[in-house]
Structures are given as structure tokens and as C-alpha cells.
């Protein structure tokens, strides 16, 4: 049975700066660092800030974008890990 994907929570001080081309910056004012997000990642981030879990995130991506990658779950999970590793989100205790 596959392991359930744990959904991280955005850290409260993180700022999403959206631009006209649907890309955005995630800015951490505590470190001064920022990363660029493509539109799909922006959709995921917004899902996380409204408390949605992995299944809802995957549903939002499926509804909004095509074509989808072969292993959407792996991509989303990998993005979750990046967010946590870079300090923009944290897994629930």
C-alpha cells in the first residue's frame, strides 16, 4: 500500500508576490530570500494557504492544467519537500 503524502503547512510569515504573467515569488522576510514559482506551483501554494490537503491540491491541479505529468503525485510531493527544505513550509508535528 503506498505511503500517504503528508501535506505541509505554509509558514505564516511567508509572502506570495504574484506577477502579471501568473508567476510569483515566495519571499521569506526573515531570511530575505525568495524563490520563483511557476503558475502550477502558485496554485499549489494557494491551496496550502487555505488548508487544503494533498488530495485537494491534486484535484485543483487536475482541474486547472493540462497536459498533466505522468506521475502528478510524485511532482507534488517533490514540491512539498522543496518547500519544507527551503524553509517556506513545515510538516505538521
Amino acid at each position: 500500500m503506498p505511503t500517504a503524502i503528508v501535506t505541509p503547512r505554509p509558514k505564516p510569515m511567508i509572502v506570495l508576490r504574484e506577477e502579471f504573467d501568473d508567476w510569483a515569488l515566495l519571499f521569506n522576510p526573515d531570511t530575505g530570500k525568495a524563490v520563483g514559482l511557476p503558475p502550477t506551483a502558485v496554485t499549489i501554494w494557494k491551496c496550502l494557504t487555505t488548508g487544503k490537503d494533498y488530495a485537494a491540491v491534486a484535484a485543483a491541479i487536475t482541474a486547472e492544467y493540462e497536459p498533466l505529468p505522468e506521475d502528478l503525485g510524485k511532482d507534488i510531493s517533490s514540491f512539498f519537500e522543496d518547500l519544507v527544505r527551503l524553509g517556506y513550509a513545515e510538516y505538521p508535528a
Binding site: L16, R17, P29, D30, G32
Partner: protein
Amino acid sequence: MAENRQLMKTPKSVDIDITSRCNLRCKYCYHRTSPADTGNELPTPEWLEFFRELAECAVMDVTIAGGEPFIRDDLPELVDSIVANRMRFSILSNGGLIKPEVAKHLAATGRCNHVQISVDGSRPEIHDRFRGAGAFEGAMRGLRILQEAGVHVTSRVTIHKYNIADLENIALLLLDQIGMGSFSTNSASYQGLARTHDDVLLSPAEQCDAMVKILDLAKRYQGRITSSAGPLSQAKNYQEMEQARLAGRGIPGRGFLTGCGCMWSKLAVRPDGTYVPCGMLSHIALGRINQDRLIDIWQNHPDFLRLRARYKIPLSNFPECADCAYQMTCTGNCPAGGYARTGEVYAPNPDDCLKRFLADDGRFFAVP
């Protein structure tokens, strides 16, 4: 062909002249006697309301200047609001009014990019020449207090005829003795009080002397001396322009009034709460904070849109540039400097003109 520029949805940073009051009266202060020298300044609650709007616009950085920001007793409260609204901040200061408890407060926020202290000499008689008696002692005391509190400090050195020979000692003081990571340099421009003090401006011969010294120091200190204007920038820029001319090519993005990119990522606010495109273009009033929405001013104000479209104006439009061999390597330079000299924003800045510099016996210098 003009480049295609993309506007950000909201400004990334905002420069705020939070007060016009100052404990000094430096002879080259660009603020004093400019339209930003408003006399009246907004009370604390107005700024706190504005910072909340900045947060809604996802602004990342606020630069607090003046006047002298540390003259305001509410500075810690203003900084706390910037932090609470998920932004970082920098402060530009002369250092003289910094108190240990305020410095500790800034450090404790963890959000201070830096406090920049103006230092124009390694000794009081040089630093104080254009800044007034006691200014050097104040700057050094401020630097020490900030360092002891753990605030990241940097300096701006304004190069003038009386400190060219002292630049080496200034670098020694700031980088070796005080242990600053880096400092930036510029020179006085024809703005504010400098318009009535001609002796603060560098002559072409003095510019050349300054270029030689500062290029040598920049090489020796390997990236720890920077600039975005003044002799160091000019020496590098002029050399690049000459190399391009000799190779018979232009420089991409040049040949138009592309001299300032600031207004694509930030705007400024005067002490009275008036939005302006830049602290040095403070005569262009765009609206008022807490009355006009920042996003509307940023995206739609006709004067701001027109100003941003400067980059589409070819230098070939201007008689003084029409036959210039450097036309396609030139940006027309800072619009604020040009406005101060000519009263026209939509024209090149004659003070940074390479053709004019060479005609006045200016020279090129090898850039390491």
C-alpha cells in the same frame, strides 16, 4: 530598437523619506530645498496604516530615509509595524542620533538589511568640511553603537574634491579597521543644496583624479567598494562605452533614455505622504498615501506611465546626441540629474555625458 520591459504588478520596494528634519545641514544634501523638503511630516498612525497597505501589495523592502530618520522618536514603532507586515527594512542615516537602545531594537527584529551611515572622510576635518562640525564624531559613534548591537552596517562615501586624496584612508578605516563588509561611493549631484554650493561638485579634472584612486582601491579591495553613480560607476561605464565604440557596435538596451530602471520596481514617498516616482524626482506628485491606492498609482497613474515610457525615446531625438559617436552605447543617464540641470525629465542628463566629459579633457582609465 527599444527593449520590451515588463512592469511588476506592485512595487517590490518603497523608499520613504520619513522626515525632513535633520541634525545636520550637509552642503550636498539632495533632500534639503527639494520638493520633498516638505516641513510637515505624517504622524505615526498614518505610516502604520500605509504599511498595512504595503503588506497587501506584497512589498518586500522599505528603505527609510529623510532628513535623518533617527530624529523620529517613533522609529522603533514604525520598524515594528514594517516587521509585523512581513517586510524587511534599511535605514539611511548620518549616524549622529543613534542610541544604543534603538540599535538593539533594530537588531532584535532580525529584519534589518542594513543601516547605511554616510562617511566622507577618515578624519573630522575632511568629513565635517561639507557636513558641519561634530558630524564625523557622530558618524563614528553611530557606527560603533550599531556594530555593538549586531546591526549590519554599511557606508556611503560621497566623493568630493577635498576627500579624493583621503579615499585610501577612508577605505582603510571602514574596511580594515571598522571591519565593514563593503561600502558604496558616489559624488554630489546638482540637486538640493548642491545647487547653491558649486564647490561640492567635481570638475572633470577632479573626476579623473577620483576615478584613478577609486579604481585602484576597488581592485585592491576586490568587490568591497561599489557604486551605482559617481566616479567609480562613470569610469566603468565610460570604458565600456569606448570599447563598444571601438568595436563598432552598440550596447544592447542603450541608445534610448534607459538611464533609470528604479521606477519599474519601486517608488518613493515624501514626508508629507505624497507618492513620487523617486526621492530625487520629488516634484512629480502622484497622489497621497492612505487616500490613493498604491496599486492604482503604480499601475495606472498617467505621469508614472509616461515616465516609465522614457526608455522608448531614442537619443537621436536630441540635438546634443544626434552626432555623438557614443549614442548607441549611452543610456541618457539619471533623469533626476537631468531634470535638476535642465528642468526637463524627458531628456539626457548633461552632467554624465561622456562626449562632454571628453571635451573637458576627461580621459578613459583601464578598468581591472
